[in-house]
Amino acid sequence: GLTAALSKVFAGFAGRKLTEANIQEGLRQVRLALLEADVHYQVVKDFLGKVSVRAVGDEVVKSVTPAQQFVKVVHDELVALLGPVDHSLPVATQTPAVVMLVGLQGSGKTTTAAKLARLAQKKGRRPLLVAADVRRPAAIEQLQALGAKIEVPVHAEPRSQAPALCANGVAAAAKAGRDLVILDTGGRLHIDDELMEELSEIRRRVPPDRTYLVTDAMTGQDALASASEFHRRLGLSGAILTKMDGDARGGAALSIKSVTKVPVVYVGVSETVDGLEEFHPDRVATRILG
């Protein structure tokens, strides 16, 4: 991994301080690691600039090797960039709190909606799920099956438009004494103007307390463009990185944080309803560095 590569780079290190000159090859190794980890190339460039500023002038501490010291600077900088993270669920006031899940096709929204409902339920909340994907074949059935499994009610209206049914869902939740509504929207491309407008319309009808971008951990460079556009149109509260139980490095997390300034809040770690964990910057930093 990166530490091994950097040990080679700094093997002949004779100096006492890290200088601009002697960290150049180290920066190249970091660049390679981050690109292989799917961090967007522009984000990598900015990140290396920050690392360079942090590392240069550092005295090499006696108890560590120059490589270890350099890795620590990189790791700490990555952690600082990925966090801080607020994992709290939004509180209800007079009306139920609303969480809206959005993202590209197949990223894991429907499964994550059920996971969030389960998480909320375990914390003593009374969630309700809204099947707001009115297009995908059997999308409603999928959410209903998941809702039934965790005994969380699902609001569905097979023949309604998404904004109206979301509004009805929140009204139904309020009436039934539910205190958290989770809107599962259909997948869409950030360049599909009509579908992006549908999300804006849902937002107008039902102002969400949280809007989470659900992103597949294996997403490459496209994470920057898509996160940027979803954020521009909707204003994101955070992101949820799914399928982290695979071996994708998850560099998309850094791209998303960098371009939207909002953090990854949760990670999906299995296909089952209990597979949602809080995002911890230090763990993902280690994984991104490889």
Binding site: Q144, T219, A223, D247
Partner: protein, 281 residues
């Protein structure tokens, strides 16, 4: 001489940005840029001519992708069996609807679908909707049934009905889950025992937004089942799926189809020039 100067750094940077941004990956990008540098030394690219460098880059990428046969190869006698696999959410089920449409409408072949995702909530229902809309037959059992048993039933039905093509949907599975990869291998064995020589095509569906992990996916799926081609889905987005070049290089697996939308007609046999236009156009 005019070509003695090295390539303009800004030209190199722009080429690299294009390659990295398209998910070719740093190793492939470096190799392609060295090829351009060699072209410059050979006098094929003037140092500051971005257009000439881009044309050479397109040529190198095109060479790398190869000329392969993008169609579904039919078995000597029906049924031809197409096994579809891939990680979660990439577009397998939707791509199967597209394949059904393409095989029937564009090649005049009869199609039978096998709903072998017996795990995920409403997966069988999802494929059933497509079967109904496309008016193709489907072999299915309720969610929770054994996927291998459904595969067996479907193979038996395809033989009995002398269907031209049997297309088998499977559950999304992460390539890091050994028991799930073993199950996929089992589905393949069930098919090949019932219909000798099958599956005749095994398509790995990749999401065009996939980054470097796409290579690991291709490698592991190829280990478990003989992947004969890639179905590159979601190419209607902004992602280019550039990892397919590394996959062709390392594993010799060609792209056979692309998915360009969410309806059955949003399928096209892989057209190298069109793909290159999308990158360099």
């Amino acid at each position: 001489s005019l070509f003695a100067r090295p390539l303009d750094p800004s030209v190199l940077q722009d080429l690299e940005a294009l390659l990295l941004g398209a998910d070719f990956g740093p190793a492939v990008a470096a190799r392609l840029l060295s090829a351009i540098e060699a072209d410059r030394k050979a006098g094929l690219v003037p140092p500051a001519d971005a257009g000439a460098a881009l044309a050479r880059l397109r040529a190198h990428v095109g060479e790398g992708l190869g000329r392969g046969d993008p169609a579904v190869r039919l078995a000597p006698a029906p049924p031809t069996v197409v096994l579809v696999c891939g990680v979660n959410g990439v577009g397998k089920t939707t791509s199967i609807a597209k394949l059904a449409w393409h095989l029937r409408e564009e090649r005049g072949l009869s199609v039978l679908l096998a709903a072998c995702d017996t795990f995920r909530a409403a997966a069988v229902e999802q494929l059933e909707v497509w079967a109904r809309r496309l008016r193709v037959e489907i072999v299915r059992q309720p969610t929770g049934a054994d996927a291998g048993a459904v595969a067996y039933d479907a193979a038996e039905a395809a033989l009995a009905r002398k269907t031209d093509v049997l297309v088998v949907d499977t559950a999304g599975r992460l390539h890091t889950r050994e028991p799930l990869m073993a199950e996929l291998g089992k589905i393949r064995r069930v098919l090949s025992r019932k219909i000798p020589g099958s599956p005749h095509e095994t398509l790995l569906v990749l999401d065009a937004t996939v980054g470097q992990n796409g290579l690991a996916q291709a490698r592991v799926f190829r280990e478990a089942v003989e992947v004969t081609g890639i179905f590159l889905a979601k190419l209607d987005g902004t992602a280019k799926g550039g990892i397919v070049l590394a996959i062709q290089d390392a594993l010799g697996i060609p792209v056979k189809f692309v998915g360009t939308g969410e309806t059955p007609e949003d399928i096209a046999p892989f057209d190298r020039e069109r793909y290159l236009d999308g990158l360099f156009g």
